[in-house]
């Protein structure tokens, strides 16, 4: 029988994979997509909690996941637009090239 722990372990594993991509890859697009993976992992966790939770009729997990998807979509749209602008400016989308935060 599949327990809640299975889902949560899977979600945390996906989160870790996304985190790995976000801190490792140099390409800004891949970094953004890795962040999407982390979002998805969080959504999966929320929906699983809703499914196994004591008050499924409240639908909190589902509603939260929908909000999460919405925000992730907004984030992806703005993020990819920024990537395009950064590409125009730096002629590159390598995250390491953007170092103007350095004092």
């Amino acid at each position: 029988m599949t327990t809640l722990a299975h889902f949560q372990l899977l979600a945390s594993m996906l989160f870790a994979v996304g985190l790995f991509g976000a801190v490792t890859r140099r390409n800004a697009i891949v970094v953004l997509l890795s962040i999407e993976i982390m979002f998805n992992a969080a959504n999966l966790s929320l929906v699983a909690f809703w499914r196994y939770g004591p008050h499924p009729e409240q639908l909190s997990g589902v509603v939260f996941a929908i909000f999460g998807i919405t925000i992730a979509a907004a984030e992806a749209a703005v993020g990819l637009a920024l990537v395009i602008v950064i590409y125009r400016y730096y002629k590159s989308i390598e995250v390491d090239k953007m170092r103007s935060l350095k004092g």
């Binding site: 029988m1 599949t2 327990t3 809640l4 722990a5 299975h6 889902f7 949560q8 372990l9 899977l10 945390s12 594993m13 996906l14 989160f15 870790a16 994979v17 996304g18 985190l19 790995f20 991509g21 801190v23 490792t24 890859r25 140099r26 390409n27 697009i29 891949v30 953004l32 997509l33 999407e36 993976i37 998805n40 959504n43 999966l44 929906v47 809703w50 499914r51 196994y52 499924p56 639908l59 997990g61 589902v62 509603v63 996941a65 929908i66 909000f67 998807i69 919405t70 925000i71 979509a73 907004a74 992806a76 749209a77 703005v78 990819l80 637009a81 990537v83 602008v85 590409y87 989308i93």
Partner: protein
């Protein structure tokens, strides 16, 4: 643990790993699509049908296509000079991801409530979700719609800046 869970887990995990490791960005996005479908499958499996459809529509239909366009617009079909598997960078990344994953694993393992099985008869009809959205969650709902509008306008404004300069 049943067969559906195992198959879906394989799809998602493999899709995610490919998405973050493949050098060819188009291949990466395609494996990401695989991952998105896998997660959508999980949503169906968890009786959250509506979320599953939203997942497919938004992620596969919009985010993945957007990413492909971004890749093409930046002439970046393959990631050049990405360091190798055993580079310091990748090892650090793996260590960090493993540490965070271990924390989560630790938290899940030490929680007895995690061992419960799924109660029967849990559903989420679109009508129920709609009712919830319009009653308990109406303020966040409106805020999110505002945010989405702002993000859409913002994305357009950011990306078209060059055109306005050319004029």
């Amino acid at each position: 643990m049943d067969v559906t869970f195992i198959i879906l887990s394989l799809i998602t995990v493999v899709g995610a790993i490919w998405a973050v490791t493949l050098r060819n960005l188009i291949h990466g996005v395609l494996s990401l699509v695989l991952f998105f479908f896998g997660v959508a499958g999980f949503f169906f499996y968890l009786n959250a049908d509506f979320v599953g459809w939203v997942q497919i529509l938004v992620y596969v239909g919009a985010v993945a296509i957007l990413a492909i366009f971004a890749i093409m617009l930046t002439h970046n079909l393959t990631a050049k000079d990405e360091p190798g598997f055993f580079s310091l960078r990748w090892l650090t990344g793996m260590a960090i991801a493993a540490a965070v994953g271990a924390v989560l694993w630790f938290a899940i393992k030490n929680n007895a409530a995690m061992l419960q099985t799924a109660p029967a008869g849990v559903t989420s009809s679109v009508a129920d979700i709609g009712r919830k959205m319009m009653t308990d969650w109406v303020v966040p709902f409106e805020v999110v719609s505002l945010l989405l509008t702002a993000a859409m306008i913002g994305a357009i404004v950011i990306a078209m800046e060059q055109i306005s300069h050319r004029k």
